[in-house]
């Protein structure tokens, strides 16, 4: 596929994407933390529900 042969230009332009990669990483970490926090809160509220 000839289009793939131009991947070099994408890689060359990829240096512009460094801030995007850093922010994307930060967002991924924050998402995982948020999901864990929600799971923890859901677990606590279930426990509380069973005790009462």
């Amino acid at each position: 596929m000839t289009v793939i042969a131009h991947a070099g230009h994408w890689i060359e332009g990829g240096i512009f994407a460094a801030p995007v990669i850093i922010v994307a990483g930060a967002l991924a970490v924050s998402s995982v933390r948020e999901k864990r926090r929600r799971r923890r809160e859901a677990g606590h509220s279930d426990e509380g529900g069973r005790r009462s």
Partner: protein, 458 residues
Amino acid sequence: MNIVIPFAHGIVGKRDIPIPDYVFGWAAGVVLVLSFVGLAVLWPKPILQPEPAKRLCFFPSLLVDIVCGVIGVALSVIVVYAGFAGVQVGTANLEPTFIYVTFWVGLAFASLLFGNVFGPFNPWRAIARAVAWVGKTVSRGALPEPIAYPRWLGRWPAAVGILCFAWLELVYSNKDDPSTLSVLALAYAAIQLVGMSIYGIDTWTERGDAFAVYFGLFARVSVFERRDDEDALYIRAPLSALFKLDIVPGTVALLCVMIGSTSFDGFSNGVLWNDVAPDLQKFFVNDLGASLNTGLELAFTVGLLFMIAFVFGVYRIGVAGMRLYDPDKPWLVLARRFVISLVPISLAYVIAHYFSLLAYQGQAVASLASDPLGTGSDLFGTASVGINYGVVSASGIWYVQVAALVIGHVAGLMVAHERAVSDYPDSRIAVRSQLWMLGVMVVFTSLGLWILSAAGQA
């Protein structure tokens, strides 16, 4: 087989910048992150709602509408006539430069600086208002009421209209043909007049007239606002009018078309696209049997649609991320609530991509005004005025582009932050949810700078 890449749009010479282009991209990313932190710390409550505004001076709304409406209609007639009667050479006829530079680009800049400039000059609205006034006078106020505008239709007509204009400007190979432009201008005027007659002048202008909606969105960034009920001109906080925008269906699509089409304009001048487009063209020519010209237009159509889809995809991911903090709200509700943050970005893209076009090609209006038909006339004695390419250097253009993109995206962050702190009672949730909008802004800033950098090297 001869493969041709046409349409070099903006003119950018060799830049003399002491540091690599990508460093500007990194610096812009740092500015956005610092702005995000600053907003989180210093902007805990809404400050742009309700709109802070102060009366500036008396403004004779009706008189301005009549005078500007007459000027708008007269200009339209001259431009369309020039397209039919003048020489059929794009650079020698007034029409292509007037439509693509003065109208399309110049009015976007004017909307930012002076508010809704296009409103009073809008020729279709002026004609419709004049006809309605005559009709009411003759029938003694017995004109039928307009039909209620369907809520679901929203700004979809405007989105489709801007997409069609973008296709004309960026894809269609005959885009500079004056008589073709005149036919299209008349067709567009006819659609507007029919739309206004069915749904009412103001309703259609605010929803269906693609150009009125387009320039009207940019005017909401401006500090100037006319209030017809008071005959007064007000000064307001920049961006504050965005929060009064009625977010109807089609608004997200419209903003994605606006940003995506401007992005494609820059992208199509870059090295990457100049490599990819011939291959796409070959595919359409060799595999699907299209002619060379049609194959190229199909390739550019694919590129345009891809770029719009890319912009939508980035915004879609950003909103999906925000839903982590507000899972009860449907995606579409959140997308519409925060779509106003894309307006400053769209404006920034327009300024960054078209500043050079306005600075250079805009000067051609002086000579074309004296010789609108290209027949050698010299009506105002300016027919021999040339374009001064020294008015701004290539480096100066690059600095304007970088500044526009950075300021526009910081403004986008501010709008999204204002919306978040007014929607979420817990300011911590508001700030966390905006991490995703920060991501959207960083992507669009990096994309914009990469596109402009690549276009400058092509």
